[in-house]
């Protein structure tokens, strides 16, 4: 298991390198450039700026310089945000985004699995019957509708939680954004868990377990739950990708100083260094999430562990 994990972690590096290389060239091939959209700059100023950031050099040279700097941990300076080092921007924003993402993931997985199980335990009960329509509504509503709606009800009318904004060390500020981000996850995971658990409960080994007189609770927790979670875990990879894109909207709806805005800003302003910094961060996170899902899968099912290449 440990060897498998190490091999998979080592496998991340080349994937990341390919991702960075493709992004590096694609963003530069896109029409426009860092200073093209800015106020009318004289041709000379623009040339000076390009020279200063090394943008006048051949692409291959820029790429080599980028890799060299990256190897030393230097992500470069933003073009648009007053020469701020990209590493510094990420360092300030990432904790907020990561906290939001982790909270949403935990909330989504735990309550999704709990709801799915509850629906199965009481077949045809309130939760079971409400699950499908509620999930459909939650998945259909975009988070820029759910977010303000929650802020209106919980923040403005009930005054339980702040409407928006963020102060350091105040977890209360993250509650509404995390719920907004987690709702579609809860819906998907609850439905996955329900379907998968129903199937597993029909398996021959569940009948064998019941024939041993183990009792319903033990059969469910010890024999049924782990196999039933396999599809849920496979969904965690795509869920992580959803969290990255979802956080862009949620952070802006709730005015959180996370890193989501840099991705949008960097892309619009053609702020190459900022974009590359964000690609590195989100690429790594997505790959790690997928790796985590695979490792969990191996833990859930010994057959995967033994077949692993």
């Amino acid at each position: 298991m440990l060897g498998y994990a190490l091999r998979r972690i080592a496998g991340i590096v080349p994937v990341l390198l390919i991702l960075l290389t493709v992004s590096f060239f694609v963003i530069r091939l896109a029409p426009g450039g860092p200073f093209a959209a800015a106020r009318a700059l004289s041709a000379r100023t623009r040339a000076e700026l390009r020279q200063r950031y090394g943008l006048d050099r051949p692409l291959a040279v820029q790429y080599a310089a980028y890799l060299r700097a990256l190897a030393h941990g230097d992500l470069g300076r933003s073009y648009s945000l007053r020469d701020e080092p990209v590493a510094g921007l990420i360092g300030a924003g990432l904790p907020v985004s990561a906290e939001l993402g982790a909270a949403a993931l935990a909330l989504g997985a735990l309550s999704g699995i709990a709801l799915g199980m509850a629906a199965v335990l009481r077949r045809g009960g309130v939760i079971d019957r409400a699950l499908a329509p509620l999930a459909a509504v939650t998945l259909a509503l975009p988070s820029f509708v759910i977010g303000p709606l929650l802020a209106l009800i919980v923040g403005v009318w009930l005054r339980w939680l702040p409407v928006a904004g963020w102060q350091p060390d105040t977890p209360r500020d993250l509650v509404l954004p995390a719920i907004t981000l987690a709702l579609p996850l809860i819906a998907s995971i609850a439905r996955l868990t329900r379907a998968s658990l129903l199937e597993v409960l029909n398996a021959s080994y569940i009948r064998t377990a019941r024939a041993r007189g183990l009792g319903r609770a033990r059969v469910l927790w010890r024999h049924a739950l782990r196999p039933a979670l396999v599809p849920v875990v496979s969904y965690l990879g795509p869920a992580a990708t959803y969290l990255v894109t979802g956080s862009l909207v949620v952070e802006s709806v709730f005015e959180l100083p996370g890193t989501g805005r840099y991705l949008v800003m960097g892309a619009i302003d053609r702020d190459y260094t900022l974009v590359m910094g964000m690609v590195l961060v989100y690429g790594t996170l997505t790959l790690l999430a997928n790796l985590g899902a695979d490792l969990l899968h191996a833990w859930l099912d010994p057959r995967v562990r033994h077949e692993a290449p």
Binding site: G3, A203, T208, R222
Partner: protein, 613 residues
């Protein structure tokens, strides 16, 4: 060791004991439709009740319902008493105190009956810990003892393994150990040997006979095959369509059955599945299929230490003449399916020469093979899963025509499909059905129609009967034999059961662990088997006769040999005659008479050219 009590003695003892489990007018309805209809049965301590019937007779459901394990959609009525406890309407908690503690159950399908993510040790100690409240250490010691009792070769290692690391026979032993773990008074076994090889089946049956003798517990053996009951059951109940149609002592039901249906089931269990007949007119010309030195190796994936090569097939040479029927026989994992797949160029990793209809096709690209494939058709073991569930019977049977006879229009195709359906005994009204709406036997007929519609020169039958009920087995076996004679085609039978192919095949090739053990004309092989492995296979075939079968079971060796290290004779660890030479040298493939070959050191040609055995 005490001798096996005869049925009469057991009956005498049983009559004195009160019933352990007594079912009275037990019925199970699904949506108002009775599936089990007023069944009354009783089992006493020390007695084995055999319940026989075809799939769908409600025999499994009867006992599941009695123990509260029927699907939630089932409406159960009637009474089921275990000792002083009424089981129907009893709470789940009260049932849990009986299940696994006083009543052990073993179900069909050993492959799926163990929880995949838990080690054998955990699953075996679970009921012990729950029901007896002993310490973990004591439970582990008990688990080891149980695995020894079911004769698993390496019990300590087995405790650490996951279910997928064990073979079907090993898993069935583990399930038996779990069922026996708390010393139950009653053991209910639902088709305990159906999914297993004949040799493993013989071992499990012999083990059950041993357990019954040693423990004096009540035993219920549910099966579709009378042969599995012979020598074990003291009383037999025959079920059909949810009702018990005949009950009696084993001697009475086996020797003087009252019901016609019982006689049919008995006859089916006594006759080989594939009927004999005059050999088809032997066509002249090149063999339809010939392989020479065919070897298949797989690279084993896995953790570094376990990586290596598996030789699935070792230098097999055999040819099938036009019109001939050849059987390839051996236990699961012996390479028989690999042989057919490699010979039909369906696996890539084959080395050696392959010839179809006299043409050397080993190196041909797939595109070029396609036209020839029309003449070499396959039918499969699992009739349902080998058919596309979305296609109707008509499309399924007509599809080969679409591929190989593009010149036919829809009308001509439909005519041929209808004629073919009739030929394989399928009602034309079934043409619009989909596979899941058919019975196992009907699905297999669709598979046969699909293969036969191209009028192939060779039909490869890969265990086409083993997923079917005994009667359906005989019907399908007879159909295939009739088709063979009519069409004059060659047939390659693949089977784990020597008994099934006894009469239907002209020659038999016995494979063991990927290598040829014996090749002989059918008659010669059955009357005088040369290889010890062939003899073991023959001895394992159950006989549906309570007077004969106990003696046969008593001779079964209860443990499997561990697979031997490479080199020498692969069978040596299971061979009663193994000598030092068998460990050192691989036995050569030598001719042992007219058309018969064997690979065994106990046969060799002397200086005078005569065979010494």
């Amino acid at each position: 060791m005490s001798s096996i009590p005869t049925s009469a003695e057991a009956m005498g003892a049983a009559h004195e004991a009160p019933a352990l489990l007594a079912l009275h007018a037990l019925s199970v309805h699904f949506a108002g439709v009775p599936v089990v209809d007023a069944v009354s049965l009783a089992v006493r301590a020390g007695e084995c009740l055999g319940v026989v019937g075809e799939s769908g007779a409600g025999k499994s459901l009867t006992f599941l319902a009695a123990l509260g394990l029927a699907p939630s959609a089932a409406a159960v009525s009637g009474r089921a008493r275990f000792g002083a406890t009424e089981l129907i309407g009893c709470t789940e908690r009260a049932l849990d105190a009986l299940r696994g503690r006083h009543i052990g159950l073993v179900f069909q399908d050993p492959m799926g009956a163990l929880t995949p993510h838990l080690r054998i040790g955990a699953q075996l100690t679970e009921p012990i810990l729950r029901h007896t409240g002993c310490s973990r250490r004591a439970a582990r010691a008990r688990a080891l003892e149980l695995l020894e009792q079911v004769r698993l070769a390496a019990p300590a290692r087995c405790l650490q393994q996951y279910p997928h690391e064990l073979s079907g026979g090993m898993r069935q032993r583990v399930l038996l150990a779990i069922a026996l773990s708390c010393d139950p008074q009653l053991l209910i076994l639902d088709e305990p040997t159906t999914a297993l090889d004949v040799t493993i089946q013989a071992q499990i049956l012999a083990l059950l006979a041993h357990i019954k003798r040693e423990r004096r517990l009540g035993l219920v053996l549910v099966t579709h095959d009378f042969a599995a009951l012979a020598g074990l059951a003291d009383r037999v109940a025959v079920m059909r369509a949810g009702r018990v149609i005949e009950t009696g002592s084993a001697a009475q039901v086996f020797h003087a059955p009252r019901e016609r249906y019982t006689r049919e089931l008995l006859q089916a269990a006594r006759e080989p599945a594939v009927p004999g007949g005059a050999p088809a007119a032997r066509g002249a010309g090149a063999p339809v299929l010939a392989v020479e030195d065919l070897t298949v190796r797989y690279r084993q994936r896995g953790a570094r230490r376990r990586r290596g090569e598996i030789v699935a097939l070792q230098a097999v040479t055999v040819a099938i003449a036009p019109g001939e029927s050849l059987a390839v026989v051996g236990e699961s994992g012996c390479g028989k399916s690999t042989l057919t797949r490699a010979a039909l160029r369906l696996v890539g990793a084959a080395h050696g020469r392959i010839a179809w209809l006299g043409r050397e096709v080993g190196a041909w690209p797939e595109r070029r093979l396609r036209a020839l494939r029309r003449d070499l058709q396959l039918i499969f073991q699992d009739p349902l899963s080998s058919l596309d569930p979305r296609l109707s019977v008509e499309r399924l049977v007509g599809e080969p025509l679409e591929i190989h006879h593009g010149e036919l229009d829809a009308q001509a195709r439909a005519t041929r499909v209808a004629a073919m359906l009739e030929r394989v005994g399928l009602d034309p009204a079934l043409a619009t059905r989909r596979p899941h709406e058919l019975s196992g036997g009907q699905c297999q007929r669709v598979g046969i129609a699909r293969a036969m519609i191209l009028a192939p020169r060779l039909l490869v039958c890969d265990e086409p009967l083993s997923a079917l009920d005994v009667r359906a087995q005989r019907q399908i076996g007879a159909l295939l034999e009739a088709l063979r004679r009519e069409q004059g085609m060659s047939v390659l039978w693949v089977s784990h059961d020597l008994g099934a192919v006894r009469r239907g095949c002209e020659r038999v090739l016995v494979l063991y662990q990927g290598a040829m053990a014996e090749l002989a004309p059918s008659e010669a092989l059955f009357s005088r088997p040369l290889h010890p492995y062939t003899r073991a296979l023959l001895a394992a075939v159950p006989v549906a006769d309570p007077d004969v079968q106990p003696g046969r079971l008593a001779q079964v060796r209860l443990t499997d040999g561990e697979p031997p290290p490479a080199g020498g004779c692969a069978f040596r660890t299971r061979c009663p005659q193994a000598t030092a030479r068998c460990t050192e040298q691989r036995p050569p493939w030598i001719e042992a008479g007219a058309g018969r070959w064997v690979a065994c050191h106990h046969f060799e040609r002397g200086a005078d050219g005569m065979l010494r055995g």
